[in-house]
C-alpha cells in the first residue's frame, strides 16, 4: 500500500499556506513572486494527487497547462519588475505607489 492521498493533500495545503504567509509578510517584490510560484506548485501537487486517487489522467493534463501558464506569467511579471527597477524605484512593494491617483 502506498502513501494515502490525504497526506499529500495536507502537505499541499501546508505549502499553499506558507505561500500565502510569504506573500503577506515579505515586501521584496521578487520574493513575493516566488511565493506565488510556491502556491501554484501546491495546487499542482493537489491536482496530481487527485489524478491518482480518482484514476483520472485529466488532473495531470491540467497540471501541464498550469505549468505553461506559470511560465508565461513569470516572463511577463519579471519583465514588469525589470521595467520598474529600470526607473530606479525601490526594491520593496511599499515603494511602488506610482499608480496611486
Amino acid at each position: 500500500m502506498s502513501v494515502p492521498g490525504s497526506w499529500y493533500l495536507i502537505l499541499a495545503a501546508v505549502l499553499f499556506s506558507l505561500g500565502i504567509i510569504g506573500v503577506l509578510v515579505r515586501r521584496n517584490v521578487i520574493v513575493m513572486f516566488m511565493c506565488i510560484e510556491m502556491m501554484l506548485n501546491a495546487v499542482n501537487l493537489t491536482f496530481v494527487t487527485f489524478a491518482r486517487m480518482l484514476g483520472d489522467i485529466a488532473g495531470q493534463v491540467l497540471v501541464f497547462f498550469v505549468l505553461v501558464v506559470a511560465a508565461a506569467e513569470v516572463v511577463v511579471g519579471l519583465g514588469i519588475i525589470v521595467s520598474i527597477f529600470r526607473r530606479r524605484l525601490g526594491a520593496t512593494a511599499d515603494d511602488l505607489h506610482i499608480l496611486k491617483g
Partner: protein
C-alpha cells in the same frame, strides 16, 4: 468508510520517500519566506521544486516530474536569478522598518486561518468523489502516451490557446524590454545635451 492508515501498512520505500520529500518541500518553503537575501530565497525555491518533482514521481506522474524540473528549476528559477543579479536587487531587505504596523503577526495569523479553512473544507465536503471519464493515470511505461493522447484529442483547443499565450508572452517581454531601452537612451541623450549646454 474512512480506512485506517496504519504506518505498518504503508510500504517502507514509499513512506521514507514521502517523508524525505515532504521535509525538503517544507524546508525549502520556509527558506523562501525567511531568507533575507533574495538569492537564498531562489535557491530554496529550487529545493521546493525538486521535492515536488519527487512527489510527482511517487504518484505515477513521471512526465510532469521531468517537466517540473526542466521548466521550474531549470528555467523559471534561473530567470529569477538573472533578474536578481543583473538588476542588483540583491541588497538585503530592511526588516525593521515597516510602513504597516503589526503586519507580520497579522499575516502569519491570516496564513494559519487559511490553512484551517482548507483543512476544514476538506474534512466536511468533497465534491463528488466520482471517477471521471478521461481514463486512468497509467504506469511508468505509458504515462507520457496517455497524457499526449489527452492533450491532442480532448484538450486540443486549450493546447492551441497556450501556444497563442506563449507567443503573446514573448512579444510582451520583448516590448517591455525594448521600449525601456529607447526611453533610457532618450533620457541619457537629453541629459548629455543639457550637460553640454551647461558647459557652453
Amino acid at each position: 468508510m474512512e480506512p485506517t492508515f496504519l504506518l505498518a501498512a504503508i510500504a517502507k520505500p514509499d513512506l521514507i520517500t514521502f517523508i524525505a520529500a515532504a521535509l525538503i518541500v517544507i524546508g525549502g518553503a520556509f527558506g523562501v519566506i525567511t531568507s533575507r537575501n533574495p538569492v537564498h530565497s531562489a535557491l530554496s525555491l529550487v529545493l521546493t521544486m525538486f521535492g515536488i518533482a519527487v512527489l510527482f514521481i511517487e504518484q505515477d506522474a513521471q512526465f510532469l516530474a521531468a517537466v517540473q524540473v526542466i521548466v521550474y528549476a531549470g528555467a523559471i528559477v534561473v530567470l529569477f536569478l538573472f533578474v536578481i543579479m543583473l538588476l542588483g536587487v540583491d541588497r538585503r531587505e530592511v526588516f525593521g522598518r515597516e510602513s504597516l504596523r503589526a503586519q507580520r503577526p497579522l499575516a502569519a495569523a491570516a496564513g494559519v486561518i487559511a490553512l484551517g479553512e482548507v483543512l476544514l473544507l476538506a474534512r466536511t465536503t468533497w465534491a463528488t468523489g466520482a471517477h471521471a471519464v478521461n481514463g486512468p493515470v497509467g504506469n511508468s511505461y505509458d504515462n507520457v502516451q496517455r497524457i499526449a493522447a489527452e492533450v491532442f484529442s480532448t484538450y486540443l483547443l486549450p493546447f492551441e490557446a497556450t501556444a497563442v499565450l506563449l507567443v503573446i508572452a514573448v512579444l510582451a517581454a520583448v516590448y517591455l524590454a525594448r521600449r525601456l531601452v529607447t526611453a533610457n537612451a532618450e533620457e541619457e541623450n537629453s541629459e548629455e545635451v543639457e550637460g553640454k549646454a551647461v558647459e557652453r
